[in-house]
């Protein structure tokens, strides 16, 4: 019988923190500036410049640590990781090796076999590197230090995951926690959340771990899943052929669905860590920890329970809404304005999710305001517009965040409430459709639907369907 293998996976997740400034200097962290326009002597490694720690970085790191059940090192330090590469202007990265700020935590994930805790070995603070752009014309690379010094936390898990599903569940959980804390927007595609996968295989039942490799360059959940499958297969094949897995860093190529070794003679991978003499220790008091704990916003589980209780929202709906910080924020803000939680939930679960799926967008990319959604709900509720008009207006709102009141006014979409005018139109419809009238009288209920449709058409959609139904039935009974 063929040997059975088990995959053992640990993750190193880098998250860019949502601070306004870099970790060691007062340059902006904003995305999208022209190359090197957010740089200064500190983040370009000018001789004589010195780093000064951004307090907000410590607070965010602590907040994530506490929310993932970590302990806090109340005496923490920064170390230098020494290696030469042009995206790293000092040729050392300021990171934490010996005394990382958080340690020994974990988060719970759902698996088909039930709940499982994924351990967190540590969370440390460090600085991001600059960006290298490869110039094909001149066969050279160009360095942009705008991202150099953007604060990161690296969340190092224990090797507790066994398959891609667990990895995705763990990443999802981390993302949600961090988004709820407001510590980062955690966008994999944009690189504000990045996962390196440490993977080894061993025969089922074996006690010792196999030799692991580290895979980098995974920029979507799908890439993570494919890389795990690809690397697992590669390692098993090596073992089956009686070869050894080499401990190394590999780069995942998602197009070719294969990983490539990144080693070269010039990368000795001997980082010569030592405490950074330019930075002083961080001492975290019990009071400080408590203050960060007290400031912790409501996280997903609490929010879920509250929605069910406070707004009487079904469990399934509440789960979907709280499954994204953005959707939850939208729900709460809209409800606060229009006071109609169930209607808000319906709009989010219905039209919002439908359009997100249709346009292949993430909830984080939603651009319309709670204020305008509330207006739309109020317009519908007041009968100012009918349901199908509301859906049309929402599509525009989704794309352009228009003011529904103004839009409805300008486009003349208001429901006509003039009963006299409606009666006149219906009388005309009945007169023009004698066959349907007799069908209805003959017991064919379907005919009523046709007549409603004809009326709405004549009204250019702006009639209240309830009134149309009532008047139609009344006049048919009279006829």
């Amino acid at each position: 019988m063929a040997k059975q293998y088990e995959t053992v996976i640990g993750l190193e997740v880098h998250v860019e923190l949502a601070t306004k400034t870099k970790i060691f200097c007062s340059c902006s962290t904003a995305f999208g500036g022209a190359p090197n326009t957010h740089t200064c002597p500190v983040c370009t490694g000018m001789p004589g410049s010195l780093p000064v720690l951004n307090k907000q970085v410590v607070e965010y790191a602590m907040a994530v640590g506490l929310a993932t059940n970590c302990k806090i090192h109340q005496y923490s330090k920064f170390d230098r990781k020494n290696y030469f590469y042009p995206d790293n202007p000092q040729n050392y990265q300021i990171s934490q090796l010996y005394l990382p700020i958080c340690y020994e935590g974990g988060v719970e994930i759902d698996t088909p076999a039930g709940k499982k805790v994924i351990g967190i070995h540590e969370i440390h603070m460090e600085e991001d590197a600059g960006k290298l752009i490869h110039d094909e014309w001149e066969d050279c690379s160009l360095v942009d230090y705008n991202r150099s010094g953007v604060p990161l936390i690296e969340i190092v898990s224990e090797p507790d995951m066994r398959n891609a599903d667990e990895v995705i569940a763990y990443l999802d959980k981390l993302r949600l926690i961090i988004q709820y804390l407001g510590a980062s927007d955690c966008k994999l595609q944009e690189g504000s959340m990045r996962a390196d996968v440490n993977l080894s295989v061993r025969e089922v039942g074996a006690e010792k771990f196999g030799t692991r490799t580290e895979m980098k360059n995974l920029n979507s959940f799908k890439a993570v899943a494919r890389a795990i499958e690809g690397e697992r297969a590669r390692q098993i094949e090596l073992l089956e052929e009686g070869k050894q897995v080499i401990q190394e860093t590999r780069r995942w190529d998602d197009n070719k669905e294969y990983s490539y070794a990144m080693r070269s003679k010039e990368d000795a991978q001997d980082y010569r860590y030592f405490p950074d003499p330019d930075l002083v220790p961080i001492i975290i008091s019990d009071e400080w920890i408590q203050a960060v704990r007290d400031r912790q916003p409501e996280l997903r589980t609490e929010k879920l329970e509250r929605y069910k209780k406070e707004f009487d929202i079904p469990d399934y709906d509440a789960r979907i809404i709280t499954g994204s910080k953005k959707l939850a924020d939208l729900f709460e803000e809209t409800t606060a304005i229009c006071k109609k939680p169930k209607k808000v939930a319906n709009w989010i679960l219905g039209e919002t999710l439908r359009l997100l799926k249709e346009k292949d967008m993430e909830p984080e990319e939603l651009r319309f305001s709670a204020e305008n959604l509330a207006k739309l709900i109020n317009l519908t509720d007041a009968g100012t517009i009918n349901g199908s008009v509301a859906k049309e207006v929402f599509e525009v709102l989704f794309g352009e965040d228009i003011d529904p009141e103004q839009y409805v006014e300008e486009k003349g979409l208001k429901t006509v409430n003039d009963e006299g005018a409606l009666r006149t139109v219906i009388k005309d419809v009945l007169a023009n459709n004698p066959q349907s009238v007799s069908d209805y009288k003959g017991g064919k209920a379907k005919a009523l639907g046709f007549l409603v449709g004809q009326t709405m058409k004549a009204m250019k959609g702006k009639a209240d369907p309830g009134s149309v139904n009532r008047i139609l039935k009344e006049l048919l009974d009279e006829a």
């Binding site: 601070t19 306004k20 400034t21 200097c25 007062s26 340059c27 902006s28 500036g33 022209a34 190359p35 090197n36 326009t37 957010h38 740089t39 200064c40 002597p41 370009t44 000018m46 000064v52 720690l53 951004n54 307090k55 907000q56 410590v58 330090k77 020494n82 030469f84 590469y85 042009p86 290298l132 752009i133 490869h134 110039d135 001149e138 066969d139 050279c140 690379s141 160009l142 360095v143 942009d144 230090y145 003679k265 010039e266 000795a268 001997d270 010569r272 405490p275 003499p277 930075l279 002083v280 220790p281 961080i282 001492i283």
Partner: protein, 97 residues
Amino acid sequence: MANKISDETIEYVGILAKLELSEEEKRQAQEDMGKMLDYIDKLGELDTQGVEPMSHVFPVHNVFREDVVVNGDDRENMLRNAPAVKDGSYKVPKTVL
């Protein structure tokens, strides 16, 4: 000399330090480093058991900055000293093969 620095070690340290030494420089470096390490080994005479390594002489801690953007665009100045520049970026030999 008690500390013999091998050719491999000098080669390896050269890679770490990004220094390319001539054969003569390598031989000299082996000798110098060996002598220095012999001398440094003197520290072995000291009983330092239970002594905390001292990185900072004074107990200064918790020096922070507030999270406020102060620096603006100073690209021209930052690039002024660069040996090679293109499109507002530092130009370096190709980093991927």
